[in-house]
Structure formats: structure tokens, C-alpha cells
């Protein structure tokens, strides 16, 4: 299982009002809200925590085959900066599993990812499509996902099929057979990121 998320900083700033009364309380635990209020850049902290929850949620949803809108049930219990500037690590608890989520932030986007052993993220591709229409962006993402998978299976991208399951998670088929390789992607505003995970060789 893998999961990832991306937040376009400009889009988030324009389209989400996290100052709205009740907003933080619906999404974040008391501990997470404390992290936000203590942060040098509270707005960035909001989206960092959100991206970590989303990445863990995608891995959780894929593994446990469920959907729910329960952001507070994915709890950030540890938060740390790494030695690399603007890189962070979070430990998230759900009832079923603990997730280690890595995140990075820059002035343009916030990106997060998690992998559940024995699956590792082997490849990833960032996309910047500021002028694309939603359909074009979706095509570009699927094409990128097929290219990552083709590289992994050392085949042509047209041998790869990607279908969404009933949970909305992308499932990878190679020569029409489902694979023990996983795709995860996310897009927001002008940014998208696609990841491929599999057993490490």
C-alpha cells in the first residue's frame, strides 16, 4: 500500500478559509491544532498536516477497502522536522494501523507520501500543469502513471492499464492482470504527483 497527496499552496490560500469558525475542529485533533498554533507558519502547518492525513487515508482506504470522511480518526501523534530543510515526518495512528508519512513544503506546493511495508515507493513524478483543463490534467496524470509502470515492468506504456476501483483508487493492470504494484496520485490546483510502489527488488 502507498498513499500520497499534494496541496497547491496558492490554490489552498485562495479557496480554503481555515480561519472559518469550526473548520480546524472538524479536521484536526486538539494535539494537531496545538501544532498549528505553535507553528511559525500556521497556514503551512494546516496543509502539511492535511496532506499527511490524506496520504495515510489513501493507503488505509486501499488496504481496508473502505471509505469514510473521518479526518480526526487519522491522528498525527508525532511530528518532526528532518535535517533537510522543509522536510517533515509524521507518525499517524488509525485504529487499524500506524503510518509513517513524509512531507515536504516549498512556496509552491506541499507534498506527502507514505508506504506500508513490504511495499516501497520506487518511483515518483511531479507534474506542473497550470494551464490544463481538468480533462487534460487527468489524461496527463494517467499517462504519467502508465509511464512509471512501464518503466517498472520494462514494457511499453500501452501494455499498462489503469482502472479505478469502486473506492476511486487506481488499480494497475499489466497485460490485463492486476499487479502487486500500486499507484497513487494526487492533484490540486496547478500541481500533481504520481507515485508507484512495489516490493523492493
Amino acid at each position: 500500500m502507498i498513499g500520497n497527496d499534494i496541496v497547491d499552496v496558492k490554490t489552498a490560500c485562495q479557496s480554503s478559509n481555515w480561519h472559518r469558525p469550526g473548520y480546524l475542529g472538524k479536521l484536526f485533533t486538539d494535539r494537531e491544532q496545538a501544532l498549528i498554533h505553535q507553528a511559525n507558519d500556521p497556514e503551512q502547518q494546516v496543509w502539511l498536516l492535511w496532506a499527511c492525513k490524506e496520504a495515510a487515508y489513501k493507503a488505509w482506504s486501499t488496504e481496508f477497502h473502505q471509505r469514510r470522511y473521518a479526518p480526526r480518526s487519522l491522528q498525527v501523534v508525532e511530528w518532526s522536522s528532518t535535517q533537510e530543510a522543509d522536510h517533515f515526518q509524521a507518525v499517524l495512528h488509525t485504529q487499524e494501523r500506524t503510518y509513517m508519512v513524509k512531507a515536504q513544503a516549498n512556496e509552491n506546493f506541499i507534498s506527502s507520501s507514505t508506504e506500508v511495508a513490504p511495499i516501497h515507493i520506487l518511483d515518483r513524478q511531479l507534474l506542473h500543469t497550470p494551464d490544463a483543463l481538468p480533462k487534460q490534467r487527468s489524461t496527463a496524470i494517467r499517462q504519467t502513471a502508465a509511464e512509471l509502470a512501464a518503466r517498472h515492468f520494462q514494457c511499453r506504456p500501452d501494455k499498462i492499464n489503469i482502472r479505478k476501483n469502486e473506492l476511486g483508487r487506481p488499480i494497475l493492470y499489466y497485460l490485463n492482470e492486476p499487479q502487486s504494484a500500486f499507484l497513487s496520485w494526487s492533484h490540486h490546483g496547478a500541481w500533481a504527483e504520481v507515485m508507484l510502489g512495489s516490493l523492493a527488488h
Binding site: 479557496s15 480554503s16 472559518r20 469550526g22 479536521l27 492535511w50 470522511y69 479526518p71 480526526r72
Partner: protein
């Protein structure tokens, strides 16, 4: 408020957050906020806060976690607002 009026109020609330206008035009009770309307998951909380304000109800975590479809949202509203 009857079911049709609740659906109409919900449509008004959802509209600003929808990114797939075509799916919004074909909205039914089965419509999924994220899969069909492509509403960003960080905006689902805005819809929930708007629903709380509009119907003067409080939606706690257990009710919120089901609110992924129009049908589920209407059932939460009906249960809480009566």
C-alpha cells in the same frame, strides 16, 4: 422542510465547491461528493459546516464520516433536523 426542500437546500450549499459541473447537473441522491462531483476533500468540511449553519444542527464525527454522498447527507440532515 420536506425531502425535496432539503435536497434543494443541499444543492445550493454544494454548488460553490463543485468542480464537475456536468455531474452537478445530473445530481441525484446517489451522487458521490468526491467521486462524482470531484469536490476536494478539504472542501467537504465547508459543506458540512454550511449544512450545520443552514439546518441549525451539529454534525459530530460519527455522522460526518458517512457524509460522502447526497443520500447520506440527506439522511443525516433528516435525522438531526427532523
Amino acid at each position: 422542510m420536506n425531502q425535496a426542500e432539503r435536497l434543494e437546500a443541499l444543492r445550493r450549499i454544494i454548488k460553490p465547491y463543485v468542480t464537475d459541473e456536468e455531474a452537478f447537473g445530473n445530481l441525484t441522491e446517489e451522487t458521490d461528493f468526491i467521486k462524482d462531483l470531484k469536490i476536494n476533500s478539504a472542501h467537504l468540511v465547508d459543506i458540512i459546516l454550511d449544512v450545520e449553519d443552514e439546518f441549525d444542527i451539529e454534525i459530530e464525527d460519527e455522522a460526518m464520516e458517512k457524509m460522502l454522498t447526497v443520500k447520506a447527507a440527506l439522511s443525516v440532515i433528516e435525522e438531526k433536523a427532523g
